[in-house]
Symmetry: D2
Subunit: 301 residues, 4 copies
Amino acid sequence: MEHRFSPSKYHTTLGPHEPVLYVSDGDTIVTTTVDAHGFDEHRKQVAPRGNPQTGPFYVNGAAPGDTLAVEINEIEPNRRYGFCGSSVAPNVVDPGYVRELPQAARAEWDVDVSANTATLVGPPSDLRELVLPLQPMLGCFGVAPTRGQAISTATSAEHGGNMDYRRFVAGTTAFFPVFEPGALFFLGDGHAVQGDGEIVGSGIEISMSVRVTLRILKGKTIIWPRAENNDWIMTFGNARPLDQATQHATTEMLRWLQSDYGLDSLGANLLLSQCVRYELGNIFDPAYTMVCKLNRKWLTE
Amino acid sequence: MEHRFSPSKYHTTLGPHEPVLYVSDGDTIVTTTVDAHGFDEHRKQVAPRGNPQTGPFYVNGAAPGDTLAVEINEIEPNRRYGFCGSSVAPNVVDPGYVRELPQAARAEWDVDVSANTATLVGPPSDLRELVLPLQPMLGCFGVAPTRGQAISTATSAEHGGNMDYRRFVAGTTAFFPVFEPGALFFLGDGHAVQGDGEIVGSGIEISMSVRVTLRILKGKTIIWPRAENNDWIMTFGNARPLDQATQHATTEMLRWLQSDYGLDSLGANLLLSQCVRYELGNIFDPAYTMVCKLNRKWLTE
Amino acid sequence: MEHRFSPSKYHTTLGPHEPVLYVSDGDTIVTTTVDAHGFDEHRKQVAPRGNPQTGPFYVNGAAPGDTLAVEINEIEPNRRYGFCGSSVAPNVVDPGYVRELPQAARAEWDVDVSANTATLVGPPSDLRELVLPLQPMLGCFGVAPTRGQAISTATSAEHGGNMDYRRFVAGTTAFFPVFEPGALFFLGDGHAVQGDGEIVGSGIEISMSVRVTLRILKGKTIIWPRAENNDWIMTFGNARPLDQATQHATTEMLRWLQSDYGLDSLGANLLLSQCVRYELGNIFDPAYTMVCKLNRKWLTE
Amino acid sequence: MEHRFSPSKYHTTLGPHEPVLYVSDGDTIVTTTVDAHGFDEHRKQVAPRGNPQTGPFYVNGAAPGDTLAVEINEIEPNRRYGFCGSSVAPNVVDPGYVRELPQAARAEWDVDVSANTATLVGPPSDLRELVLPLQPMLGCFGVAPTRGQAISTATSAEHGGNMDYRRFVAGTTAFFPVFEPGALFFLGDGHAVQGDGEIVGSGIEISMSVRVTLRILKGKTIIWPRAENNDWIMTFGNARPLDQATQHATTEMLRWLQSDYGLDSLGANLLLSQCVRYELGNIFDPAYTMVCKLNRKWLTE
């Protein structure tokens, strides 16, 4: 079943909030998200800053210990105006170089969905025209966290959240551990384009039209978020420093290979040894995100 | 001019050692490297363990403050036997998962240059046949460090060293800051294949035939290693934690964009913001290596 | 005014929960806390595991932007049975040493308030009798966090929480930024004794009788928790890695010296330079705690 | 036997350099050290900047696998002029606060050994008179490192080096692993006073008269530096981040308790659990130093 949902309120924490809609296993939701500062498709502010989320959606039958699969069917900017930071964040450069960074200013982009481009509009610099292909993605999405917590949409943890990983695009399915009845799924913080690491503290921030399909994997328990697309399986570690994020992601991948791909511990270790790939989700948010990846061509399901 | 050099001694530090050959700016060297444990193409141990290096090569005219460009023209395993670790290193998984790792054992590979494959031979696990395409690379190379130091080939720093980055393959040119007269170039620790992060503490370790061309960039001063290939420019940060390695690499990239690509500070920051890519060299050695990359298509030289 | 409050429910998050008592600026509360596993003075479990908190207490008049001062007047174990871990946590030793740690077991202590001692009862080891002087302290206390969050009592942040610092003893006044109306003060997780770093993941965990006095510093805004006793002023950074915790604490101390002790930036930096002291709160919890200290003898108020 | 040695050359690496003196097990050396910038008791520059070292001293009979014990008998500034940084280092504050730091300038101190005081002379700030009691210490000392390396005196590792720990004062005995025949002992970088962490990048830097006694512990093998004084035993971890330094120091302490103090693994873990103390050596140098301490009163030898 497909639900069309127009949000009227937004949350800046992922937590056990009142569901906005009850859906069933396998249902699809077509909805919209506002930008990181709470502005909608008309550039009207309808929510406070800080990655306000659409949702939560209650998935009937989802229970703690299950896994929620979120397939991103479609994601598309629903306006032309995008913005991002213009200075690499102080924590991403050498401490002694911080004073050399330009003053923070808002960079503005013209996002043209029909042309599939984002064009840098300003501020003026000696950078020539910069036109990037769109890769619309979800920066922040996930479920209500463990222990009844309500956790800021600025950060991320086992429940997902603000992972800011540029491959959360259409065609990707993300998996989240379920901690609350109904899972309580949230989404928001769309980026028209994002570099690795979100090093200026933002992608090209924009409001979005999104279509997702939610499925429950009953009795399937995971510890950290996972994802897959046609070519890759991926695990996510959200923590500081990056070393720890890498530990979480790698450990989760070793678990996955053993539980689902018929490998013993030695086999899983051997397979990862020379085939593993990593990508940097973000190195800006309170928790950094490291992604551990394995190409499906090495897997036998 | 092309020099053919057969090494008879090896070094396990990069330092101000006696040159084995004096070459000129633009000369090419054809030589061999032994594997990480000091075994040559006949599987005879001719050097101690620990990434023993061929060299150093003295480049006439190279002086502190210059940059040494090292083009990797060719690199090819010169025997069939390769080996690697079989267990992810304890520092790459969650501390609480260390006890779940398999006992360390040597994994063995049959490296077939004509077929361009490495085939896992053992130890036995339930991993099916694993046949990987070769990507022969240099794990450890660089120049004598600053301040007259002699630094172990286990680690890396501004002078290069054991960066264990899987894209140091043929067709890549690496750049190192020159700290000693003649630069004193070393190379070794070849890998037939390596995963991101070198998470088992080794690639497929093997002896190599290597052909490199050395050029001096007079008066060009860099702080951290850099590299380029047809598609990418890259900067390297070598440090722990990964956060700091990322800071070094990102800062060096900002410097490069401003010094060589006609950008002011704001332009360099804006360009990186949504176009930057990162790759994980290694997360095993005493210094981890993070690589900051930018695709040439965004650059105007 | 002094309030005697007997808790009947407990929270495992610090968040905007229903107040259990409304008090006024300057009031004193005499209450009890259960141990980290939710057991009370009769060793009866009355709350779930995970540092269940007494409270929250609503301080009339406290508003976001104010600071809440919490003077710990008295804190005393209210039973004899204490316990702690018996193995240093895996994240506190070298990754390669994790397999050498003893299997985790519960260590038990006899806590004798009249003798002011904690005596190790077991498990049996070749450690001779170990009798430690009591230093009863609060492991986890603080206020409701920013942005309406409800944050687990396992961790800590700007709002305080599970800092596990062994000098939060009677005679210490802690300061917390106020984020919610009424501040919403919580306390729990008492330790009869604790080593630096809480390296086995626990102090000597025990239920407590506690007496605290709450005061509002109207219009006084701080960013990180602070504290003072007769001899020292202290600031707290809660984060991973310890480097970042140290950055937060040091920055907060520089701010404090400038706002309250009549120093300009240079003066504050010069004073800290050779007089600063650091102590390690915890290196176990999801956020580590580093304490930056300055002896009052160097201060002129 | 007591040797009086007047240095005429200095080293800015610890490595396998030509010994300046051969001494026997148990001998005492009375010598001098220049300040961190290479200036002697007459404020004449006699060595390059960067913690130039007196030595190396060859201890007859010391062999790899032994331990060198260095008792600091006396250490006293031999001039009045001391200096330090005046701004907390950028890596010690929040990245976003770096721009708030004062511009780096040299702070000058009048060091009066007879009065046992260091008095801040300048630069002018609104800090009132600051007069500190002297605690003369060695910032950088140790032995030639493993593997024939020559490592900069800016940093530290298993061989000691620039640990910048303020309790390396007279009355302390430091222990270093021996990696080269004769151990090759170096010393320098004296501080009249130093705060925890060396957060401005320097203590009160000054030239020193030093008296040390060197002893060989034959067949005693340690991994990281250790130390002891009348009250404490201490182990040192030198690495980044502080987390890793803490891991090294804690692991070394667990080893020491088991090898020398008659404890099994469980006993060593239980003893540390509530009795351990940590101190921050430095959080400025390329390797940070964390010190793990245990009071002797808990030990049975």
